[in-house]
Point group: none
Chain length 268, copies 2
């Protein structure tokens, strides 16, 4: 079993960042659920999906935390022995398989696509997301540089396709929205591009000359920061769009139907 | 590995105070969520943020509790051997990195800043809070007095800036509020000043002549008391402001859209 040595600083950085990501996902979950009533019903679906995404990610970070803890053993002379094979990084891939299609769904819901456009978009995006993640995993666990590059390249094709469709569809959806909503949507688009760009960079850490402990640190720090932003931060952006639309609709309103006229009997 | 000896009294004081803080955060979480419906929708955002803050702090105190427990070993002759390196104090810093900007957001939301003022304020405060905490951490884990003082001084600059902006912005926001709300806002401002002042004092414990076990006690007791007040207590103050505003608005009102027509609209 391969074992690498982490300095106390390297160990603590990863350890605390995994815990921080778990805390952020939990906090975001509470925020999305509690904020539901501050937006009009018709925009709430995207908030529900946001809550589901961060709950699933929170679960996986709880598992990753446990896995990281049990793979590390404190050394007598300081630092940690880390059994890389005992650390299950597949939790991340399982998480992405579930949550990345949901991130697309969340976006579509807040963008108010027409029914037929929406169905096509979700189908295309889900297939692309699945291919992207499934093709990336063999490269993540590969030990040879050529395998990392091969699977990385294959995974990049659906990834670029996904970003391209996202970019152009958001561009189309923006038309007809108020100026404030437009700004928020453009910012969301930039946030997606910036955070999603971190994943391939972290993925490539082993072939960019980083080795052993350093590669582990770059990979884990990159994934944690990207997950926090791409899930919780992105969810907050989606919330801002939904909230702004609600404000423009005159605030949260409840529809009440009142029976008038002769037939006034209202069944319970 | 550095080990210090705690008397049973010192150990129990920290142990029980960490547990107490965890209980207070949990209780505050329930209070903020359950009280939501007693204030008008437009003031609820600050309550939601309060709930998120104490939930995240509760999570961290749960981790701190576990970490403290596993770092202490009961000695045959009474008292405890405490492995300082096994006690992860970074949980506190991670917690502050997330929650201090949220405490600012919470305040801004209840103060009803105008949109552009609010955005600027949050941006300024978040940067200052991040710098304050990030610059403080190296000093917290430093072993030499000069390093503690250097990082402490660097961290104090954004800290003072933050307090100054807070103080003056609250002063401006107070104008135009009712007398009762004014009093509550002034008290909140004093509470911030009083509790936030505890953090640097606790931080300086190791250089104020406190050593080993005593330094640990001063640090942990100070942080626990400050966290309870600055998060749960502060949240209750924010709640009081939101509730007072609701009362002045004539109680909780819901916006209702009424659908009427010639033919009786009968609900299902």
């Amino acid at each position: 079993m391969e074992e690498i040595t982490l300095t106390a600083g390297q160990h603590d950085l990863i350890y605390n960042l995994i815990s921080m990501t778990l805390a952020v996902m939990g906090g975001a979950f509470i925020f999305f659920l509690a904020s539901m009533k501050r937006i009009n019903r018709k925009h709430r679906a995207s908030m529900i999906v946001s809550a589901v995404i961060v709950a699933i990610a929170g679960y996986h970070y709880w598992r990753i935390f446990g896995s990281f803890e049990s793979a590390a053993t404190m050394l007598e002379g300081g630092g940690y022995a880390f059994a890389t094979e005992a650390f299950n990084d597949a939790y991340r891939y399982v998480d992405w398989i579930i949550t990345v299609p949901l991130l697309m769904v969340e976006l579509v819901l807040v963008l108010d696509f027409k029914d037929d456009v929406r169905r096509k978009f979700i189908a295309k995006m889900s297939v692309a997301a699945f291919l992207m993640i499934a093709l990336g995993y063999p490269g993540e666990v590969a030990t040879s540089t050529s395998a990392v590059l091969l699977w990385g390249t294959l995974s990049t094709i659906p990834f670029l396709y996904l970003l391209y469709v996202l970019w152009s569809e958001i561009g189309t959806a923006i038309e007809g929205e108020s100026d404030r909503v437009k700004v928020l949507m453009r910012n969301t688009r930039l946030l997606i591009l910036a955070t999603w760009g971190v994943y391939p960079i972290a993925y490539l850490a082993p072939v960019m000359g980083f080795e052993g402990a350093t590669a582990l640190v770059v990979l884990q720090v990159g994934y944690c920061l990207a997950d926090m932003t791409a899930k919780a931060g992105y969810g907050v952006m989606i919330y801002s769009i939904a909230r702004q639309k609600t404000v423009e609709e005159g605030g949260v309103t409840e529809r009440v139907e009142v029976a008038t006229g002769g037939a006034a009997a209202v069944p319970e």
